[in-house]
Amino acid sequence: MTRNSIRAWYLVHKWTSLVCTLFLLMLCLTGLPLIFHDEIDVLTEGPPQVGMPGVGSSSDTPGLLPLDTMLKIAIAERPGEVAAFMAFDNDGPLMTVTTAPRPDSPSAQMTVLVLDRSTGKLVSQADESGVMHFLLQLHTDMFLGLPGMLFLGFMGLLFTAAIVSGVVLYAPFMRKIAFGTLRTSRSTRLKWLDYHNLLGVAALAWTLVVGLTGVVNTLATPINRVWQSRELAAMTGAYAGKPALERSRYVSLDKAMAQARKALPGTSPQFIGFPGGAFSSKHHYAVFLQGDTPLTQRLLTPALIDAETGTFTDARPMPWYNQALALSQPLHFGDYGGLPLKILWAVLDLFTIVILGSGLYLWLGKRKTSVEAHVREVETGGTAGAPS
């Protein structure tokens, strides 16, 4: 590698890292407790007491209450509001009903009620004031809504560029050094330089995957908007000119669900979008169904059921961009392989914190040194160049 190309990659690495490091540190620190979100909830609130443990609220097992009943219970809790979404679980009888003044109200005005479908009891009203919720908001959009989300997505892209340029610089740096070398006793700078390189290259695949899937997740809102304007509009084209359906004429939810199950056998519902909401037309219940294998479970197919007649209108698999988003979620959260996977996620997250911290230290320590000296440092594997 020529000195000029090392110099160019060094500058790319320096500037992309500098811009994103503080945001990435925030993301790693807030992300760490979020990995264990479910475990922390159970520890602080205790395991929920349910009527029929192990029976998924998404199933049609006898003994589970009708969806119409569940809807009535939820609306009785929030008089004057309407349902926007209803969501199900495959592993237990709990389900949620999201209510709001209107089906298309902004999410800040929505209330999520957790109900037990086997007893009809209200379990809790999802808490939006807790520490975990605060961390999640900070991690997702820094309380700035869509612009904040997209900004963090851009930071994720810079992080990716920093990783790639870091790998390029790893080559000249390691030319005379064996993998895993940690020169901890010569100077503090050399010690952190070696740790930075070792951790960076060891965690490479994980940081790239979690970084890039994080970027895809920041695009959730635009991705869903494209789906609404293209796919949803095409599926409900015949209804385009009709006025919104009166709520009093809505057909039974259970009837609609039965139609959706009949149209797509071998699936189970993940959530229902109510008429007039962002995920349906003004005339349809949109029943989003998931497959029954671990992989197809992630890929949803919406079945649109006419909310006035209860007949099936159309079902189309989500397009590739929604499927990419659906697969990006588990790959970013690390919640798809049991507790050991979460622990590995946490360890690799800690590695990333050390990579970011040591990078910052290496920059702070030698800010006044010339670029040439830094290039020498890379060329010689840290033994010459920036004097320590």
Partner: protein, 60 residues
């Protein structure tokens, strides 16, 4: 500590193995439960073990 210059292939031999194992681990758990989860833990554990090994045996 002085060693002859390594080729690009030598420099990236271990990192490439770790990256391939990591990617395999990330995908394995996504495609199923049980055995696939176990394989995923082992494979994604490789980069962590590599760092532990370096801290134990490669410090100087």
């Amino acid at each position: 500590m002085k060693r002859p210059k390594q080729s690009l292939r030598q420099v990236f031999a271990v990192p490439v193995v770790l990256a391939v194992l990591s990617l395999f681990g990330l995908i394995a758990a996504l495609t199923g439960d049980g055995l696939r989860d176990g394989l995923s833990w082992l494979a994604l554990g490789a980069p962590v073990l590599a760092v532990v090994w370096a801290m134990r045996f490669r410090r100087s």
